[in-house]
């Protein structure tokens, strides 16, 4: 297994947010983490990369226990994280944003260069010196993904990559994610949009109120409209 999460519990102050979350991601797999707003998707990701201080449980990445490591060490192991709110550095240019993400090559992961990323996201190549703050939402979303790929991760946590984007940009995003998959990057993508998830994912987990309540292939999920309607429909 590429990534195994077991019994993950997280708290914000007195509030218990995640309850015994567990899931697995295989080598080269794209796994969707589906759930409504506030279900705990982002908190799950933030907990995995160590951005939530109060967390317990076991997180194994490429056979190594990373549960108690600080964020930067987890990321340096090759576990990339693309946050939901984009959080690009608005004062920095596209090139500089990529520079922040740059990490050495990794033997077991595809190596990304600026050129390769500009080929993957042609828009970015046209605005190398533009400050991040003067880009559209879609361009910013591409930049966050490209920035994380500069770290040559072997697995990426993608937090709601389609949120707030126009259908055309979403299409580009699907292509980009499929390219990443083809290159050999394992991906966990959190989504509210089942349609989007279906286009890219091999398997899916459904999270509701901080608990995993379903796990299976996309076909298995489609065979259970009751689950889909109970946890995903708006």
């Amino acid at each position: 297994m590429k990534l195994t999460v077991q019994d993950l519990n997280s708290h914000y102050g007195p509030a218990h947010i995640l309850f015994d979350i567990g899931f697995e991601v295989g080598e080269g797999e794209v796994v969707a983490l589906l759930g409504r707003n506030g279900a705990g998707k982002s908190t799950t990701f933030r907990s995995i990369v160590g951005l939530v201080a109060q967390r317990s449980g076991r997180i194994t990445f490429e056979g190594k226990d990373v549960s108690s490591k600080p964020t930067h060490e987890i990321v340096r192991e090759g576990l990339g994280y693309v946050p939901e709110e984009r959080r690009i550095f608005t004062d920095l240019t596209v090139e500089e944003n990529l520079e922040v993400g740059r990490q050495p090559k990794r033997p077991n992961a595809p190596h990304w260069t600026r050129e390769k990323l500009f080929a993957l996201f042609p828009n970015l190549g046209e605005m190398k010196n533009r400050p991040g703050g003067r880009m559209s939402g879609g361009e910013q979303q591409m930049l966050t993904i490209a920035r994380t790929l500069m770290g040559n991760p072997s697995l990426v946590l993608l937090d709601e990559p389609s949120e707030g984007l126009s259908p055309k940009i979403v299409e580009q995003m699907v292509d980009a994610i499929l390219t990443m998959k083809k290159e050999g990057v394992s991906i966990v993508v959190s989504e509210q949009n089942l349609h989007f998830a279906r286009l890219i994912s091999d398997r899916a987990y459904i999270i509701e109120r901080g608990r995993i309540c379903f796990g299976g292939t996309m076909a298995e999920l489609d065979a259970r409209p009751d689950i889909r309607d109970a946890h995903l429909s708006l």
């Binding site: 914000y12 102050g13 930067h72 550095f89 920095l92 922040v100 993400g101 994380t148």
Partner: protein, 629 residues
């Protein structure tokens, strides 16, 4: 004409050191969000070490090498301070770090006297720059010309460092979003340490380069830190270019202000700062900050009114305090009165800081205004004490109304700096308007009427007022006004969205806090029998901050305990040792590291832990610390 050119060049030369120190402060704040009060102390140590090294090492290499070595040595001290002290408290509430660096400053002030003695030290002249250049009959020291060139050179080097190196890119990224930088695999710890080292290096270099111009003395830290705060705020926090422009501006204002307005030269700089902050709240080159991601608080105890048992305990404590005159002598009673007065002062700032979320760095202004109010009423109008006590604080109230109106337009560090500027303006007026205020000599001979003249009666008066004020402010915390104020503190946007006029609420809180401080000041004037500009000075403002933070900024009434502990310790230490600042500074740092929630915050936590099983308080009073995502 030549005279003015020379004056201008002198200003430019002074700007060089100011810029070095200010840019260091700015860089450190940008990344670590720490307002490094100890920056002036590092500047001072830089000067002292450079003095020693340049005396010991001979020749030109000895001098210049000594300067650089001194700056490097201080940078190393900075690294140790960062790793041992600051790393432990990055997650403490914002102003706690200020408290820690303030403690450090206190310690350094005593340490330099211990090591180098209390006398001014005059350093060597710079080899190669010993003479002066004749300019149409006016002399310009050639060292000044060196400094004038050095400023832009350092600016250029810093610019290259930040724009052209990976380190610079990382620092700029971290200035905006530290967590995200960590989430991209960058080790924040070392980034912070290196940034702190660079900032401290610049401060120490600024100090070391001053030795051929000025004597080295043990009060140079406070003088520079105030100026540097002003520079950084005018230029815009985090902007190096801004720091440069503002350093030049401030130095020139100083150089020419003294010629044109000798009477109000001190005010001039602060006036400019106030205007800049009102017109461009983020400084000349600063950028409006994206709503900062709130650092989660440490305590999660919801605020609640005291239970009836706790009320009885507080009442019992008050009764015990009121019994003090039965067994204490006059000295102790005077000390008791002073502590009670400082409880009033601290509680008023606590109200503004903890309930309103507005940390004022110039709260002493309203304390002092209350004191001067008494002085004017009693000495000039000859009114009796009871009338004075009722009317005197109104001066503090009016001051708070005027300054508060402008101050609440800003928030965070900028609010703090604007309040500091206002306090300095008031201080300058008291200091320089000798005809009315007596200037440095103050106004003497204010004695209480006979009904309050004896130490025990005055003590009861002070204690009673302190208790009254504390209860009143507490009641306000749990009143609708208090809810509205806390709502604006926790989320300005959300509270505006439900129809709370945030600015008006904050302004009201500012006036309440200012008036309360004025009450404290009024009593203080009678206690001391005199009023001095120091009553509105920075050190008094800082004392108040320390008291609040020591008690626990996230508590409802921690300031009461903070004031008692700090003031009692302070008075006791001054009477016991010559090194009171060293001990006090060490104590403050210890508290910060060991009890980052303040004394009361820690007690609350212990109490909480003991009865963990009991259900939480009313959800209405719960204070959301960090919202789930």
């Amino acid at each position: 004409m030549a005279f003015y050119v020379v004056q201008f060049l002198t200003g430019l030369a002074s700007a060089a050191s100011l810029f070095l120190v200010a840019s260091g402060l700015s860089i450190i704040f940008g990344v670590t969000r720490i307002v490094n009060f100890a920056h002036g102390a590092f500047y001072m140590i830089g000067a002292y070490i450079a003095f020693t090294l340049t005396e010991r090492l001979s020749g030109a290499f000895g001098f210049w090498g000594g300067i650089v070595l001194a700056a490097l040595a201080v940078a190393l001290i900075g690294v140790i301070v960062e790793m041992v002290l600051l790393r432990r408290i990055y997650h403490a509430p914002e102003l706690f770090q200020l408290l820690a660096t303030f403690g450090l400053t206190l310690m350094v002030e005593d340490l330099v006297v211990l090591i180098w003695g209390p006398d001014d030290l005059v350093g060597r002249r710079a080899p190669g720059f010993k003479g002066a250049i004749d300019f149409f009959g006016q002399n310009i020291p050639s060292y000044d010309l060196f400094l004038i060139v050095l400023g832009p050179v350092v600016l250029g080097i810093l610019w290259l460092l930040f724009q052209r190196t990976r380190w610079g890119v990382l620092v700029r990224a971290a200035t905006q979003d530290r967590d995200m930088v960590a989430a991209l695999g960058v080790n924040q710890k070392w980034l912070f340490t290196s940034v702190f080292a660079v900032g401290v290096f610049l401060a120490a270099l600024g100090g070391a380069l001053q030795i051929p111009r000025d004597a080295v003395h043990h009060a140079m830290d406070l003088r520079i830190i105030v100026e540097v705060f002003v520079v950084v705020v005018i230029g815009g926090l985090g902007s190096i270019v801004g720091a440069f422009v503002a350093a030049v501006l401030v130095s020139e204002l100083n150089a020419f202000g003294i010629l044109i307005f000798p009477k109000i030269s001190i005010i001039l700089v602060f006036l400019v700062m106030a205007v800049v902050l009102i017109v461009r709240p983020w400084g000349l080159f600063g950028k409006p900050e994206a709503a900062a991601r709130k650092t989660p608080g440490l305590t999660v105890n919801p605020w609640r009114p005291l239970t009836s048992n706790e009320r009885l305990m507080a009442l019992a404590a008050l009764i015990v305090a009121a019994l003090l005159p039965l067994f204490a002598g006059n000295y102790l009673l005077t000390v008791g009165s002073e502590i009670a007065i400082f409880v009033i002062f601290a509680v008023s700032l606590h109200f503004l800081m903890s309930v309103g979320g507005l940390a004022s760095f110039g709260h002493a202004a309203y304390f002092g205004l209350g004191a001067y109010g008494i002085a004017f009423l009693a000495k000039m109008a000859g009114l009796p004490m009871i009338v004075c006590l009722l009317l005197g604080p109104l001066l503090g109230c009016m001051g708070a109304a005027v300054f508060g109106f402008f101050a609440v337009q800003l928030s965070g560090v900028y609010f703090a700096m604007l309040t500091l500027a206002f306090a300095q303006i008031v201080w300058s007026i008291a200091f320089q308007w000798v005809n009315v205020t007596g200037g440095d000599n103050g106004i003497l001979g204010l004695w209480p009427s006979s009904w309050a003249a004896s130490p025990s009666r005055f003590y009861w008066l002070a204690l009673g007022v302190a208790a009254l004020v504390t209860v009143a402010l507490r009641a306000m915390v749990f009143s609708p006004f208090g809810y509205a104020l806390r709502a604006t503190r926790d989320s300005g946007l959300r509270s505006e969205a439900i129809g709370i006029d945030a600015k008006r609420i904050q302004w009201t809180a500012f006036v309440i806090a200012g008036t309360t401080a004025g009450i404290g000041g009024a009593l203080f004037a009678y206690l001391k029998g005199s009023v001095f500009p120091d009553n509105l000075g920075i050190s008094l403002s800082v004392d108040a901050l320390v008291m609040v933070l020591l008690g626990g900024v996230e508590t409802v009434s921690g300031a009461v305990i903070g004031a008692i502990v700090y003031k009692a310790l302070n008075i006791w230490l001054v009477s016991q040792t010559d090194l009171s600042k060293l001990v006090l500074g060490g104590f403050i740092m210890l508290i910060v590291v060991v009890f980052p929630k303040g004394i009361v915050g820690m007690l609350e936590m212990l109490a909480q832990r003991r009865k963990k099983a009991s259900p939480p308080g009313s959800p209405l009073l719960a204070k959301p610390i960090e919202s789930a995502e």
